[in-house]
């Protein structure tokens, strides 16, 4: 028998949703202050209205509960999945008020794309967008990359025993410290230190490449936030092509790779335990998958005669590959070039990299390196079982922070998530084809949305069908949260309707 949720369940969920919404309102105050300082008063009003509305919703949601009750797994998962939807609806308000998005749905698309660190965008005339709105677009990526709920939890709540459920709900499985709030704060510390270093490097590079100092700083800040959180938004419509700078491209490659690293490995890096990085299954898998997919991309580009010189092949091919593999989506080629000039083989190489993603407990989306490594180890183990005598005991181990024995439970979990991702990729591709787009184009864009990458082959535009916009929004949401919290929400709604 399915039990109908109680009113207390709803009150508890609403209380935490309220806390997250208040946190979001505070975040929106940053572009508000920025707009006032720069004298952008119309955008300031956009953010004032949005902040007020977010605070109002937040206060109303927390109205019915004033004590902290331990969250169950179900509550935590539902809080996470609903928080991301609510954040999208609220985060889209200032975007829509700017007039640069044709509809509220388009603004919601970009808000979800920002929070989920995807990078697909429906903005029009971004080159004339205000600094404040641009800051908000990139700030959404910075917030979403660390995890909307975990930020609220680490800021507003201390010693909450149910916080781990929300941490897992946001697609993270590993804690750096026993306490989730401490883990959240460490993730913030790492991110803020890299923010300072990365922004400084990009600002200096921008000034050297002929940009005005303030614009170099602003672009440096925005590009860092989007690259570190493997997002892919950019303040200019040309994306990274705007800068025409090899140094800028190199710095963003480094930032993208750092962003795709497990925060646990960052911890080891901070504690000068460098050997941990080379031993880890994720680093090794990432190295080999980059090598293999780059080989495919290079073969495709050379075959097509697109880039035959090694320097060009590396600058364009490798950049797009790393951008796709880390799930960033920065482009140094135009979207249409992918389809029209790169050819099928190179596109498939990038597509394969996009499906894989970076490390668990990083800011990337997609299947992720640890799962790929586990599946590979399981395959090797099975092959050994066939080859070796029946009496032989086959033990497979891998290193991830510590030595771990490969168990069936781990393999099953990795395979399940991988299968769910592939289903999501295929579903989006089918819907794309239903709207009349070609197979490869549909698959490319679908993977880009579901794996939170943001590379586009040209389908994503304000003129694309509403059904496809909704599909990509759902894909970005489910892909970022790694399904579990989304499935729990579906179950909860079902129980609310059919339960007794």
């Amino acid at each position: 028998m399915i039990l109908k949720p109680h009113i207390e369940d709803l009150q508890l969920i609403s209380f935490y949703l309220g806390k997250v919404t208040i946190g979001l309102a505070l975040a929106m105050a940053i572009p508000l202050v920025f707009a006032v300082i720069l004298g952008e008063f119309s955008p300031a009003y956009d953010f004032l209205i949005s902040t007020e509305l977010a605070l109002l919703i937040g206060v109303l949601l927390t109205f019915n509960k004033s004590t902290l009750t331990t969250l169950s797994w179900m509550h935590g998962m539902i809080v996470v999945s609903l928080s991301w939807l609510l954040a999208t609806l609220i985060g889209a308000i200032p975007l829509y008020l700017s007039g640069h998005w044709l509809s509220y749905l388009d603004a919601c698309f970009d808000a979800m794309s920002g929070f989920a660190t995807t990078g697909l965008t429906l903005v029009t005339d971004v080159d004339h967008l205000s600094y404040a709105h641009n800051l908000w677009r990139h700030l959404m990526m910075f917030i979403g990359g660390q995890g909307i709920v975990i930020i609220a939890v680490s800021l507003f709540v201390s010693g909450l025993s149910g916080a781990f459920t929300m941490y897992v709900g946001e697609g993270r499985e590993e804690k750096i410290f026993p306490n989730v709030a401490h883990t959240g704060r460490f993730i913030w510390l790492v991110s803020l230190v890299f923010l300072c270093l990365g922004t400084f490097a990009l600002t200096v590079c921008g000034i050297c490449e002929g940009m005005e100092p303030f614009r170099a700083f602003f672009h440096g800040l925005c590009i860092f936030m989007a690259a570190f959180d493997t997002g892919g938004f950019s303040p200019q419509s040309q994306n990274i092509l705007y800068y025409h700078s090899v140094a800028f491209e190199l710095i963003t490659v480094v930032i993208m790779i750092i962003g795709a690293m497990n925060f646990k490995l960052h911890y080891h890096l901070w504690t000068a335990n460098v050997s941990e990085i080379t031993k880890d299954i994720e680093t090794r898998t990432f190295f080999f998958s980059v090598l293999i997919t780059f080989f495919i991309v290079a073969m495709g580009l050379v075959n097509q005669g697109v880039f035959t010189k090694p320097a060009l092949l590396f600058r364009k091919g490798f950049y797009q590959l790393i951008s796709g593999h880390t799930g960033t989506g920065y482009q140094t080629v135009y979207a249409k070039e992918f389809v029209k000039q790169w050819g099928d083989l190179a596109s498939i190489g990038v597509l394969a990299a996009m499906t894989l993603g970076g490390a668990i407990c990083s800011t990337t989306g997609a299947i992720k390196m640890a799962r790929l490594g586990i599946i590979w180890k399981a395959l090797v183990q099975d092959i050994k079982r066939i080859i070796f005598p029946e009496r032989a005991i086959i033990v497979q181990k891998f290193h991830h922070v510590k030595e771990i024995f490969l168990e069936d439970k781990l393999v099953r979990s990795a395979l399940m998530i991988t299968m769910a991702y592939f289903l999501l990729y295929c579903l989006g591709a089918l819907i794309g084809m239903f709207y009349g787009y070609g197979f490869l184009e549909s698959l490319f864009e679908s993977v880009s949305a579901a794996a939170n990458v943001g590379l586009s082959c040209g389908i994503t535009s304000p003129n694309m069908p509403v059904g496809l916009k909704l599909t990509y929004i759902i894909q970005m949401w489910a892909g970022r949260l790694e399904f579990m919290s989304v499935f729990t929400l579906v179950g909860f709604v079902y129980a609310a309707i059919r339960g007794k």
């Binding site: 119309s42 004032l48 007020e52 967008l129 060009l312």
Partner: protein, 160 residues
Amino acid sequence: MLKILFATSLLLCPIVSSAAVVSSQELIINASIYDGKIIEYEGEVIGEVMRRGSHSWINVYDGNTAIGVWVLSEHAQKIKLSGKYCQIGDRIKVRGVFNRRCLEHGGDLDIHAQQIQVTELGRKIEEEIPPVKKKVAWGFGIILGLVWILHLYRKHWNRN
């Protein structure tokens, strides 16, 4: 021989000088057709002029996509305003060589300008705040204040 050369150059001259303005989409989609050819491209200068020694980079937006134009810095001085928030950049017509994969610039799709001409001066736009935005902001502010007071009162009442 000289007559033939003269006649050929006379024939070619109008072709070069009357190259039609090509859109960014046309250049990107049919890049191989225009590769290495002299083209004319028109649009608004966006962002800023990025000076790199004797040459500068400008990005020119034709309403659809922006393309990078590599131009002599002395020519770039003609550009007074570039497009950003509340500012429409100078509209320029570029005449130059289109590169599908520029070997000089790391394989970028770009235009090496031979000459640029400002066809329309840019302008600053007065920022307008719609009155409805002000009213909504005030309205939400008042409601929020009332709800907040009620919230605090309720907390106080619950505690007692």
